[in-house]
Symmetry: D2
């Protein structure tokens, strides 16, 4: 064990940073990154800390229990500890649009994403050939009004069998039900094709065209039960003019969507995102 990343939140108090950094110091660790944030409204403290250990500070289990006893319990911390040993497993859900899928798989093949992709799930068969090109297993699970519950059971079975850590909806055109969300709270990443909260729901480019906006956007967020209202991870925008048709916006938007989604996925994989009060803290 050489690298440890800690994500911590607790009620704000004096001395937290001093206590945590001293704990790492006494284990002969070197802090290579520390960032903290205080939610002034609610008095909550958040911290992300990366440390390196030339000499192993012991088993992860021992480290965890010592940290829990000596530090976490004192401040009533909610905390997560990650080593860099295991790549998180990422399941991809898609429908018919291929631009986000091509982009993520290209990055995956380039070694840009520190993750494993066990499979792709789709409610349509259209993108099977893309999955095949990249040698990723593809599961076609049609979703209709009648079979929704059964389809979700099948999705859950696949997710759990593969030990998936988080799910990326890469333009998956189905609403994910609370049943799935409850299994992956703060671990389902969606890309919405507007600068939320403008134009939630279906066909946002049509709405943007009708409203005559001069800027379109894309938003990546964690999925919660309320549609398109979960914590925003990343957004970006592009300029449009009166010359752009709805189709032009769709084409421009594709580039936005894939870049914004990829950024959010990379932030999530590198444990840089914390969620509180339906908002994200995104450490740099």
């Amino acid at each position: 064990m050489n690298n440890i990343t800690l994500l911590i939140s607790c009620k704000d108090a004096e001395g937290i940073i001093a206590s945590v950094t001293r704990f790492i110091f006494e284990k002969n660790g070197n802090i290579v990154y520390i960032d903290q944030h205080v939610d002034a409204e609610h008095g909550i403290f958040f911290m992300r800390l990366e440390s390196q250990f030339a000499i192993s500070p012991g088993t992860p289990e021992a480290f965890r229990s010592e940290f829990a006893e000596n530090i976490a319990s004192r401040y009533g911390m909610t905390w997560e500890l990650y080593t860099d040993r295991k790549k998180p497993g990422m399941a991809l859900f898609v429908s018919r649009y291929d631009h986000c899928l091509y982009d993520l798989l290209g990055r995956y093949n380039s070694g840009e994403l520190h993750t494993e992709i066990p499979f792709i799930i789709s409610n349509h068969n259209d993108l099977r050939s893309v999955a095949d090109r990249f040698d990723i297993p593809f599961h076609h699970i049609p979703v209709t009004r009648d079979n929704k519950e059964q389809a979700e059971s099948e999705q859950l079975r696949l997710l759990q069998e593969a030990g998936v850590d988080f799910i990326v909806l890469a333009r998956y055109m189905q609403i994910v039900s609370p049943r799935i969300i409850d299994h992956y709270p703060g671990r389902i990443i969606n890309i919405h094709h507007s600068f939320l909260p403008a134009f939630p729901g279906a066909r946002p480019y049509h709405s943007a065209f009708r409203r005559g906006v001069k800027i379109i956007g894309a938003t990546s967020h964690y999925v919660t039960e309320e549609l398109d209202a979960g914590p925003i991870i990343e957004q970006d925008i592009a300029r449009v003019t009166h010359t752009h048709s709805i189709n032009d916006m769709v084409m421009k938007g594709r580039d936005l969507e894939k870049i914004v989604l990829a950024r959010a996925v990379k932030l999530h994989i590198s444990r840089k995102v914390m969620v509180y009060n339906n908002k994200t803290i995104v450490f740099s």
Copy 2:
């Protein structure tokens, strides 16, 4: 008369551009700028044309009537013709925020705005000293629930006496009533402190903070009866993070607001904006 700018709209048809450009050509005019747009949904044609005449093509009145008879009537055109002789008159409405006012008056003094500012109207007295610094008459017209109609009559009287062409609401914190709007249709420019249609109405930075957006914006639009729903002229955005308080957003937003409003004002002054179907065509 040396420069003529034409703004034209009509049902799309073959031969419009050929007819208009030939008309200018036969008057010995040189076209220095032509841009056109077709609203494909409704089949409407829009054109902006700037032309220069080494030799005067006659009185504006004669030019107008010849254009009306020979060209405009044939295609059922709605059209406007501007010479560069007269600077348009711009009234400023303000309340308590001074950043847009300082910015516009600085530009005005620098000669950046081809306009005349006959006066500033405010429902508060706070910014009188700014007006004084720039030697612009300042009219304090308080607006209350009880005196609203009377206050508007006073505003209208001042506007009409000065022959004002258009109104700029430079963070004027009052809703302008239909009575004023009817006198200045498509000629009242507002700045709203969000990327509309997100966060219309009051306190958008508070809403943006609560929603946890990663991008804030500002929108300049023409005022219509529906609040914050008029044709958008210009928008721009700035990035924010979890570290920004509401007050930080307000401060960042000030820079956005003043730049976006100034751009919209300059586009309007240079006759580059046409309105159709509650959207703008903004020629470059």
Copy 3:
């Protein structure tokens, strides 16, 4: 023949637009797009015009010769006429970086690029597997100091056999010699990983890091004999801070490079770029 795109340049004169639009009108064509530009410094007129013909205006040959005689010769025009019948052929040159290649091939497969890709040429064998995934022929032509002339002959032979219209250097890490450039003037598109003219030549991210810039960029340009000094088609930028290592910049830059290159390729394919005086006119 239903769609005709004309690109025209000539010495500026009165009546050009009127003449051209009348010519189209008399052929019963409808102008769906017209944009023009005058280089005021040199008095050169540029125009791009798209027109649709419900009834065929005759063979392309007849149309061309009539336009040449009646219009082009009168104004001494340089002009090109395109129909939408034939997709232009695009050769890809790559070396070892795969992000631009993945991006272009993903778009190609999605049908986003109106082009044919007959083959990929590379001086290394690394990306053969990517070409294989997308079923594009891959030619490995190593380039050394000793075999450069022979390698280029082989490249030229392949290009000419396939009737390639333009070349895209998708992070091809070799300098293309005048011999190739002369065969494809204004038809070789490169992506450079800096906001030119800052940091031309090799290792621009290293230079950007050393200089401590707060913004990095990417530039797509036509290749000319002077290194990284050809006409710029498109540029874009991303923000960086002191926290970004050279490697972080490289990673951020990959997203810039692929998006900027794709935009330039799409502009070129849609005949929206004209070149004059080592600069581009990019019609919208």
Copy 4:
């Protein structure tokens, strides 16, 4: 004394953060902001820390000497300590362009800048009226080849008499000599009208136009002896097209320049900028 801001740099070592935060903690201070950076290339550690004290931790002098003895000496720190008692004094140097001056004075009057402006120095008399509008003393000190040394002596005298802390060159069109720079190292802020390192020196918009770039920029940096080569504080850009004349770029650039300069000034005033190896660390 309630607020203390510490800027620290030293050779990187284990335990620095723990030591500093414990020191603050033991003084009953609450850390409201901490950010750190390690220059991995040179192994240098940088930190900015803001702390609040409900009960005064003693006189600033005592606090300083205790910090020096117990912490700074142990790690060989270079450090600065600021309380919020005294507003820094900012001298403005201008020539003939007024947009940055109007912008800074507008912000100053709005209370946006936590600074005092004792006077404006100019080598021309043109902007005296702007200074007068804002009631700021204006010193006209012409600079010619012959009187440069004498002029600088006069500038220095005024700067020192007023106890000026830093200087802002708000489009001051003279090269500041080493003599002045030596008195204000890392404390003279310039705005250059290009995205450095592209187009250093005079007339960058002309060079940008000639090169045909699609993006123009502005750069605010600390002045060093090498022209336009000092540490960059902030940059921003705007898009241009072939339709923009040099004059259009100048006008677009004005908005960039004033916003970028104002951002740099605010960062400097809030002690968020550290300089090392001719680069800046800009804490957020």
